[in-house]
């Protein structure tokens, strides 16, 4: 953008280059602002990168003690004992991944399905009204969702959903054990409610941006409306829909307040979704304020570093997934 020539510059070029006093030249540069815009936006973009690096550096610097004491064992130890100062991240990583994965499994079909309806099938008036409601849902503070979780979702899970799951799917290890209501399932469901608006809103925008020609071409060769939507429009919008899933996943990995209110906060690994669990963000929020002792405090900081790494790895994996699937898409038209 910086190199777009201006008409005036061509006609009166040389006289513009002459310095006409510092004030005038500053005003001139301001008026032809591309250079400045370029620098300012560059600085803004660079600041994001710098903030990330600085964050990583600070987390690394302040977690030296547990890194030396526990080494890689920090990732595979499942004890978290502030009294005897023995710390391991495994149950927290497990809880974070499981709740995020389950919530994504629930939210993906619901969210994409709703987005397809809103973008392709619903009458415009209904679509606009529902989209407004979805955006409202995104604006609810997580502490409110957590409270609704404790007082409405948890009793509902304990009285109805979990007994039903146990009766029908109880042969699976995921649906066994005592039913408290509070636990991984409750946390996953709260997360689902929190991330669905992201998936719906972004997927809907992406679907709406698919050119009309694509639809018309599909209809012209005899596709039904659903075939045109499912086989032409959705694949066209695939990478955008993936983008919405990333954003949703990032939210799910980092969500703290609502999760800690319903997950049971117990650092134990259990296959059952009924069992209580713990996530990285939740334990940091819970224990950081009262953490005395350097090893304890720094272990919590190292957990922050672990969350950072988990997020990076998952994002990288997801990007590889996109590359693979979109390549398939173009290879098989």
């Amino acid at each position: 953008m910086a190199t777009i020539p201006f008409p005036e510059e061509k006609t009166t070029g040389p006289s513009f280059r002459k310095p006409q006093g510092p004030v005038k030249s500053f005003v001139r540069r301001l008026q032809t602002g591309d250079e400045i815009a370029h620098l300012i936006t560059l600085a803004f973009a660079a600041s994001i990168f710098l903030i990330t690096l600085l964050l990583l550096y600070e987390l690394w610097r302040h977690s030296a003690l547990p890194r030396h004491r526990f080494g890689w064992a920090f990732f595979v130890t499942s004890t978290w004992d502030p009294v005897f100062e023995n710390f391991g991240a495994l149950p927290f990583v497990f809880g974070t991944l499981v709740t995020s994965a389950v919530s994504l499994m629930l939210a993906l079909p619901l969210g994409v399905g709703a987005a397809i309806f809103l973008a392709e099938l619903a009458p415009p008036r209904i679509s606009a009204a529902l989209s407004f409601v979805v955006e409202l849902l995104a604006a609810i503070p997580s502490v409110i969702l957590g409270l609704l979780g404790i007082f409405i979702l948890v009793p509902f899970l304990r009285e109805d959903v979990e007994p039903f799951l146990k009766a029908t799917l109880g042969f699976l290890p995921f649906f066994q054990g005592p039913m408290y209501g509070i636990g991984m399932l409750a946390a996953s469901m709260i997360l689902t409610i929190m991330i669905i608006p992201f998936i719906i809103t972004i997927s809907r925008e992406v679907l709406l941006a698919v050119p009309v020609d694509q639809r018309e071409a599909a209809l012209a060769v005899g596709a039904t409306r659903w075939e045109a939507t499912w086989k032409v429009v959705v694949p066209y919008a695939k990478s955008g829909i993936f983008g919405s899933v990333f954003l949703a996943l990032a939210r799910a990995l980092g969500e703290t307040m609502a999760v800690t209110m319903v997950i049971g906060n117990d650092p134990r690994i259990s296959a059952s979704l009924f069992a209580p669990g713990y996530t990285i963000a939740a334990v940091i929020a819970n224990e950081f304020t009262e953490a005395t002792g350097n090893l304890y405090l720094q272990s919590l900081i190292e957990l922050g570093l672990v969350l950072f790494l988990v997020t990076i790895v998952i994002n990288a994996l997801a990007r590889v997934l996109i590359l693979v699937t979109t390549r398939q898409g173009t290879a098989n038209p």
Binding site: I4, F6, P7, E8, L30, Q31, T32, G33, D34, I36, A37, I40, T79, W80, D81, P82, V83, F84, I150, F151, V154, P155, R158, P178, Y180, G181, I182, T260, M261, G264, N265, D266, P267, P276, Y278, A282, A285, N286, E287, F288, T289, E290, A291, T292, G293, L297
Partner: protein, 358 residues
């Protein structure tokens, strides 16, 4: 031409934005309150449990002494100790006394000792939700430790029914609930269990957070209370103040004299009085399982942490003045906020300790 207009207007917008930004910045600087010449500003940080009474004290004290402003941040006991040690606050506050290691670290960084001043008392009580049972249950120390160790699993365990013969306890699993956030309440709860159960002391120990053998974790008093209320056959612990203010039912505990005591402000003060007799000179004392026929066994002081050397004489006078006022006049605000008062014997010992501040 169109493009140039656009950039020109954009530049104008940027210029206006910068100008407004600069005005706000300088405006903020110039309007920020200039401290009155004789005003003493004191920063403090620490425990959240005594925050309601502390903020009451600090505001009343400021009304009576307009030149002293004490700013207290309730960031948690651990944070209070850290900030005091690094010298970013004038004094700290904690629900658990500083350990020898923490005191040594503070001495190294501050170049002076740190004094503990007990301010008020609190307690922790067992609260439960058993459908069909309204009676006040009696718990022995062994039963309570057994439940939290995961050994007493059922409500109709003989150890429980023996103490509560009149209550029809159901054949249901006990759902154990504890605090998930680090807290002084957890500290005194686990401190008590460590004193009454050897197994608890060696397996779990005492701290603001521990590695719980069993149970669900709730965030804060309201989190534990919420889970207990929502989960049938559950048992948890909350601060006495929280239970009183929310009129929650809670059980009686057997104290060291063998009496079953229902916690209230008087029985918590009795525990402090029982412990006052052999109070160490630095006040770093746990009063759980204290002697005394009326003492409630899960009680604790909460402390202000004050360095022995305060450089600024104005600050020193202000802090000493506040301490004296807090022990004489301040205590009368305790009851209204459901805090237990310091016993006389402790107050007079603390008055002596003030002279150590230089």
């Amino acid at each position: 031409m169109k493009r140039i207009r656009l950039t020109a207007s954009m530049n104008a917008a940027v210029a206006v934005f910068l100008l407004v930004g600069a005005l706000v910045f300088f405006g903020a600087c110039s309007t920020s309150e200039a401290p009155k010449s004789n005003e003493v500003r004191i920063n403090a940080a620490g425990a959240t449990f005594p925050y309601p009474i502390y903020s009451k004290w600090f505001s009343v004290y400021r009304e009576q002494h307009p030149n002293v402003a004490i700013n207290y941040q309730a960031i948690g006991s651990g944070g209070g100790i850290r900030q005091l040690t690094s010298g970013t606050v004038d004094f700290g506050a904690s629900d658990a006394p500083m350990t020898d290691q923490q005191l040594a670290e503070a001495k190294e960084k501050l170049g002076c000792d740190v004094l503990h001043f007990p301010t008020v008392l609190g307690g922790a009580v067992p609260t439960y939700n058993i459908p069909g049972v309204d009676a006040t249950l009696k718990f022995t120390p062994d039963v309570l430790a057994g439940i939290y160790l995961g050994k007493v699993k059922k409500w109709n365990d003989p150890a429980l029914t023996k103490q509560n013969p009149a209550v029809n306890l159901p054949n249901q699993d006990i759902v154990v609930v504890h605090r998930s956030d680090g807290s002084g309440t957890t500290f005194i709860w686990t401190d008590y269990l460590s004193k009454v159960s050897k197994e608890w002391e060696t397996k779990v120990g005492r701290n603001t957070s521990v590695n719980w053998p069993v149970g669900l974790g709730g965030k804060g008093n309201q989190g534990v209370a919420g889970i207990v209320k929502q989960t049938p056959y559950s048992l948890g612990y909350v601060e006495l103040i929280y239970a009183i203010q929310n009129s929650m039912p809670y059980g009686m505990l057997q104290n060291s004299a063998g009496h079953f005591i229902k916690a209230d402000l008087a029985s918590v003060t009795a525990a402090a009085a029982g412990a006052a007799a052999n109070m160490p000179s630095d006040f770093r004392v746990s009063i759980t399982n204290a002697p005394g026929a009326d003492a409630y066994p899960i009680s604790s002081f909460t402390w202000l942490l004050i360095p022995t050397r305060i450089q600024d004489p104005a600050k020193k006078d202000a802090i000493i003045g506040f301490l004296k006022w807090m022990m004489a006049d301040g205590q009368k605000y305790d009851e209204a906020l459901a805090y237990a008062q310091l016993p006389e014997a402790v107050v007079s010992k603390e008055m002596d300790q003030i002279s150590k501040i230089q």
